[in-house]
């Protein structure tokens, strides 16, 4: 299901607008990236930066008022933006799987685990109830649920948060999708469970040869799991590169600030926690130049004049006119 060079997802110049009651929010503005098989790409940014919107746009599940107004989304050889609803129905849950943030509300409270996990198979593979049930048990075993046969007849509220998230994962993987989108998959879980779930993701990604888009605001999650990182701010991509490159050779001032605000074990207790001053801009009336300029200590008039282009090499791009100094070669 992938193009010859192993690229599973290719997003090019994506623009998404959301029509609200009194205004139009430009939630995603000209974002481009690719994900290859067996690669985890972390999409990070604060709340409201547009990262979840991208995930929903790929699936064609934008909320009422949301529309893709530019760019393309290619899955394998197909441009999903050109697909009608019927075509998208065959893609969702089949070629693309998604795991959402809150496992309790994401699962139907009155349907058994077995029915819910097997449902994609019944929809896309025409599986009989019994066959779906059998496959569901296998999937539950795959995601590490103990006693999978017994879980089939239980209900979501009977399971713990971690178990529910595994169930959501099993459901997403049922039809062996080429792409897995994980939207804040661990945010609602406690720290130890977070670790376990992320390990699971990594293992299954390799086993099943999927491409993974990991959407999160947690830099720690990204550091441990992602091969490449895309940093978003106010609807635009500001920095993109390999994980090591981003963390150890950060260039964009926003990414620098983000990394700075992660509390560290080594920070002395008397030092206040660093947080980025100011607020993200109003996306219904975005500023003309660099969107981070208003909160950036290094911004100049040049920054505010026009949106900065991408600098650097393809392996590590950053849209910043006054970036962090590159380490001496």
């Amino acid at each position: 299901m992938s193009v010859g060079d192993g690229t599973v997802l290719a997003v090019e110049g994506l623009k998404v607008d959301i029509e609200l009651r009194h205004s139009t929010v430009h939630a995603v503005d000209d974002v481009s990236f690719t994900i290859a098989a067996r690669e985890t790409v972390g999409l990070v940014g604060e709340s409201g930066c547009g990262k979840t919107t991208i995930g929903l746009a790929v699936l064609g599940l934008l909320p009422v008022g949301g529309d893709i107004v530019g760019g393309s989304i290619r899955l394998g050889g197909d441009d999903l933006t050109a697909f009608d609803e019927d075509a998208m129905l065959r893609v969702r849950g089949n070629r693309i799987g998604i795991v959402f943030q809150d496992p309790l509300t994401s699962l139907n409270p009155t349907m058994t685990i077995g029915d819910q996990v097997g449902e994609p198979l019944r929809i896309h593979r025409g599986a009989s109830a019994r066959a779906a049930r059998g496959s569901a048990a296998e999937l539950l075993a795959l995601v590490g649920l103990p006693a999978p046969q017994r879980q089939l007849d239980r209900y979501p509220h009977e399971l713990s948060g971690g178990m529910r998230q595994r169930v959501s994962l099993a459901t997403a993987l049922a039809c062996e999708p080429a792409l897995l989108i994980a939207d804040e998959p661990t945010t609602a879980l406690d720290v130890t469970t977070q670790d376990q779930i992320l390990e699971l993701f990594a293992r299954l990604k390799d086993e099943l040869g999927m491409a993974v888009l990991l959407i999160t605001h947690d830099m720690g999650v990204v550091a441990g799991q992602a091969d490449r990182v895309l940093v978003m701010y106010a609807g635009k991509l500001v920095e993109a590169g390999g994980t090591d490159s981003i963390f150890y050779e950060v260039r964009h001032r926003y990414t620098e600030a983000l990394l700075e605000s992660i509390p560290r074990m080594t920070t002395s207790r008397s030092e206040p926690l660093y947080s980025i001053p100011g607020q993200p801009p109003d996306l219904s009336r975005p500023p003309g130049g660099c969107r981070f300029a208003a909160r950036c200590a290094y911004a100049t008039d040049e920054c505010r004049a026009a949106v900065p282009p991408f600098f650097g090499e393809p392996a590590h791009l950053f849209a910043c006119i006054h970036p962090v100094e590159a380490a001496a070669a």
């Binding site: 939630a27 409201g48 919107t53 909320p63 008022g65 949301g66």
Partner: protein
């Protein structure tokens, strides 16, 4: 603005719980008002109610008729310049009677709703806050009274006494308090565990303070919605009572009595005895229902918690 941004991220998340401090509350109220004002039906309903109230209470000051003394010679006259809505079977001018009757109907309905709300809120808040066996018992009492249809209770009462306006207000109110009690109790149960309530407790606030200052104000939304429906129901209930012949006796007027009286003449073609009171009832009740519905939508927006 931040409430809108939650829409942008594609779903109503847990983060969309409105802040419980004053700033969050103000913003949430504004959103609720917005939603209410957008509902054209509710707006029309509200305007209509104002007009109806003016008609009933200010109307007689402008348009004088005698609603006490019967005048058989002028009975069942069709609409004319002298009597724009005709006269009824004992000679009362229908238009004037519609106004005066409206006063009674509205008074009873609004009065009963007020009684019901006050009683219901107190009962429900106490039950919900105290919890345990007391709560269980208080709610069982509510269930028991609810089990008996209001109409039955009222009929029984009417068979035993002669209804007057204050008595009707009291009795209808005493039956209507049950639903608000249930609603408030439910809300209190969930609000009781909120963090800001715990905070007040820690600060040394006593139960009365917590209930009156923190819990009850947060139930206002649900209570307001229910209050409008209570008014609507009360009008219909009293009308039914009048129809069954056990309402307030003449010369007092009320829409239900006028309608049921008029229905005696269905086959005589005296439409002016039937449609004006009937339409008055339906119109008023519909308006209150529209308003209640819109209020409920507006408060659902505000209380988007889970």
């Amino acid at each position: 603005m931040s409430a809108d941004l939650e829409f942008v991220e594609g779903r109503v998340t847990h983060d969309a719980v409105p802040e419980e401090g004053t700033v969050g509350q103000v913003r949430a109220w504004r959103l609720a008002v917005d939603v209410f004002l957008e509902n054209k039906l509710a707006l029309a309903g509200a305007v209509m109610i104002v007009l109806i109230v003016l008609f009933c209470f200010v109307g007689p000051l402008v348009y004088h008729t005698d609603q006490i003394h019967t005048n058989i010679e002028e009975a069942t006259l069709p609409p004319s310049w002298d009597h724009p809505l005709g006269t009824d079977d004992v000679g009362y001018d229908q238009l004037g009677r519609l106004m005066v009757g409206g006063q009674t109907s509205l008074e009873v309905a609004l009065g009963a709703a007020a009684v019901a709300i006050v009683l219901g809120v107190i009962w429900g808040a106490v039950a919900g806050y105290v919890g345990g066996f007391v709560d269980s018992f208080m709610m069982r009492i509510v269930d028991a009274i609810l089990a008996i249809p209001a109409l039955f209770l009222l009929l029984f009462l009417a068979a035993v006494t002669t209804p007057s306006v204050p008595l009707l207000i009291g009795v209808v109110g005493l039956i209507a308090w049950l639903v608000p009690a249930r609603l408030v109790r439910g809300e209190t149960l969930s609000l009781r565990t909120r963090e800001y309530v715990q905070a007040v407790k820690v600060m040394g606030g006593g139960p009365t303070r917590i209930v009156t200052r923190h819990i009850v104000p947060n139930t206002i939304g649900t209570v307001m919605v229910n209050a409008t429906f209570q008014v609507a129901d009360a009008i219909l209930l009293v009308a039914a009572l009048s129809f069954l012949g056990l309402g307030i006796p003449p010369p007092a007027a009320n829409w239900g009595g006028m309608l049921s009286n008029g229905l005696n003449y269905t086959y005589s073609g005296y439409w002016w005895l039937i449609y004006p009171p009937g339409i008055a009832i339906v119109l008023t009740v519909v308006c209150f229902n529209f308003i209640g519905d819109a209020l409920r939508d507006a408060f659902e927006v505000r209380l988007r918690r889970r």
